[in-house]
């Protein structure tokens, strides 16, 4: 698998003229798993959305590059084809489009015209991934995310990760709304891709729980729209035991949200 480097430098991001990210710098290489943690309202999901190109977010300064290429100049679909994947916290429901058709279109978007994936190969790969994620095969024929439970939507995001095999994945609160069994299944799926493809990953999470199953190499704490502290997996464990208060005290932060 090719090597990828996603480099975020001094990224400032606004939504409706309100600045949310105030200078984030972070580099993710193939094979590295970075966890970005922080309380609610500190800008975690904004980081994910800005990298992918969410239409409501405006980059006011800074840069994001993938293997040296300016990602911010690319359209959303170009970013995806370049190798970036975002597992979304709130994926859209798309009526009338089956999950299977959507997946095939996504795979074929990465291939040359005339070199589309064969139906047999596609079904084989999809069935394998559905089994890994313990998803009922009927889901493939259901309309994309329509009427899916929260857990089904999350599994569907990881299904896409497994099928698309990106270079760098961003997983935005992929653990929210999952019970412990579902969480393990989802984590197993991510770990499988990690082992097989050398995936680089940015895991955004509120809770340390997910990181028991997907071991991060690096942990970053975000507050007030900036990374305020970085460390190894032990940092996440300390957060689990002690919460965020000690960091706020250490750094003299009273209100950790971006409103401050």
């Amino acid at each position: 698998m090719a090597d990828y480097t996603l480099e975020i430098k001094d990224l400032h991001v606004s939504i409706e003229d309100k600045e949310i990210l105030k200078g984030v710098t972070l580099t993710i290489n193939s094979g590295e798993f970075h966890a970005v943690m922080g309380p609610n309202g500190t800008g975690k999901s904004t980081l994910a959305a800005a990298i992918m190109g969410h239409p409501k977010y405006e980059i006011t300064s800074g840069s994001v590059t993938l293997n040296g290429e300016d990602l911010l100049e690319m359209e959303v679909d170009e970013r995806a084809r370049a190798g970036v994947f975002l597992g979304m916290q709130y994926p859209s429901e798309i009526s009338g489009v089956t999950t299977s058709d959507f997946l095939r279109s996504s795979i074929n978007a990465r291939r040359e015209e005339g070199n589309e994936i064969s139906l047999m190969k596609f079904i084989k790969e999809m069935d394998g991934a559905l089994d890994d994620l313990e998803i009922d095969k009927n889901m493939a024929q259901r309309y994309l995310n329509e009427g899916f439970s929260g857990g089904e939507k999350k599994r569907n995001e990881i299904l896409q990760l497994m099928m698309l095999q990106p270079g760098i994945a961003i997983l935005d609160e992929i653990d929210s709304g999952l019970d412990i069994d579902a969480l393990k299944v989802v984590a197993d799926g991510v770990n499988k891709v990690r082992e097989e493809t050398g995936l680089g990953c940015l895991i955004i999470t509120h809770y340390q729980r997910l990181l028991n199953y997907i071991k991060p190499d690096h942990v970053h704490i975000i507050m007030q729209g900036k990374i305020v502290k970085s460390g190894g997996a032990e940092l996440a464990q300390r957060l689990e035991a002690e919460g965020y208060e000690w960091i706020k005290e250490e750094l003299g932060i009273e209100d950790e949200t971006v409103n401050a």
Binding site: H54, P55, E75, D101, Y143
Partner: protein
Amino acid sequence: MTTVTKLPFDKEYVEQFSQKHNEPAWMQKLRLEGLDLVESLDLPKPDKTNINRWNFTNFEHTAEGETIDSLENVPAQLDDFIDEDNLPENIIILRNQAVAYHTVQEELTAKGVIFTDIFTALQEHSELVEKYYMTDAVQVDEHKLTALHAALMNGGVFVYVPKDVKLEEPLQTLFWQEDKKAALFNHVIVVAEENSSVTYVENYISDNDEDATVANIITEVFAADNAYVSFGAVDHFAAGTTTFVNRRGVAGKGAKVDWALGQMNEGHTVSENETHLVGDGSTTNMRTVTAASGKQTQNFTNKTVHIGLDTDGQISQRGVLFNKTSAIYNAIGKIEDGATRANAEQESRLLMLSGNARGDANPILLIDEDDVTAGHAASVGRIDDMQMYYLQSRGISQAEAERLIIHGFLAPVVNELPIETVKNQLSQLIEGKIN
């Protein structure tokens, strides 16, 4: 001001036309009644669309149509409608109103099923046709266009399914206006007797992009007690054709009439689709899709009329509007006094793909009874940014993402069409508009 010019067909012409087809006396009489009324009656007044300047009178009334020898070798224009690997066993192809091809399974005929063109039916089953032809469903004197239709009817199909006969295979018709100036005054009657069931699917086809002509179509569907009629259609007249199409069903006790209509005309169109739920416990499910891409003005009405007890009427309209089209979608639930426990539900959804397109969805409930349930939903909107973002975030291009969303938006109706080739052909038409 109205520009409807004087009709170029007189009494003598209509009499001769009727005689040429060896019609029964009652039919000729009905034609002349219609002709008499044409001058005095007004055009219909579809809600929010002014049709006074539309062409309803400039056309040729007849044209010759050659026969087609075999379904394996149909003219190229019809290729998409015939599944070569699974040739239809019950099909009528009308080419410029003339029967070009006709086949029906012997076992159906043996059971008393009638599936024939309207002129043959008038000769061979005169009394049966007379019972249903513009009597209990559509009336001659409703407006100028129904009267004109009665006077000039020049094609159509008659379907009759006897009591207790349940057809497994669909009946299919292709109405192909090969001649660019010939008008089609098509009359379709589908009768399903008590406890019978039938699936009928029709296509209208023409390619007169420049030449002006007219399609004036009346369809009458009768589902007797506990009968089931599934009616599918794809209308695709070219830009030169001004279309008035009225499809009306009458449902008896416990009967069900379902419609799945693809309304894909390229020219000005008024389309009225109506089901009268006369019998207790009768139901209808009316689904329509439109994709309009030119400069045409179109008006679509779906209406359920609740008369019996415990009736259920569902309307679902979906439209995608491109370019400079203008389209009105009326969904009407009319519940008569005494139609206790009626349920009328309407849903109209429009997707606007151009700033120059105009679309309007009007849900209308007219209720004269207290003990009923009714609901409606209407929306006119653009493609959702978040849906686009989601699809594009998987590498799907903007154009492909739009394509998926549009097909998906129309899928609930497209998927209802009971014949695979007709479904595919409708998808192709939608695809053509997207490109």
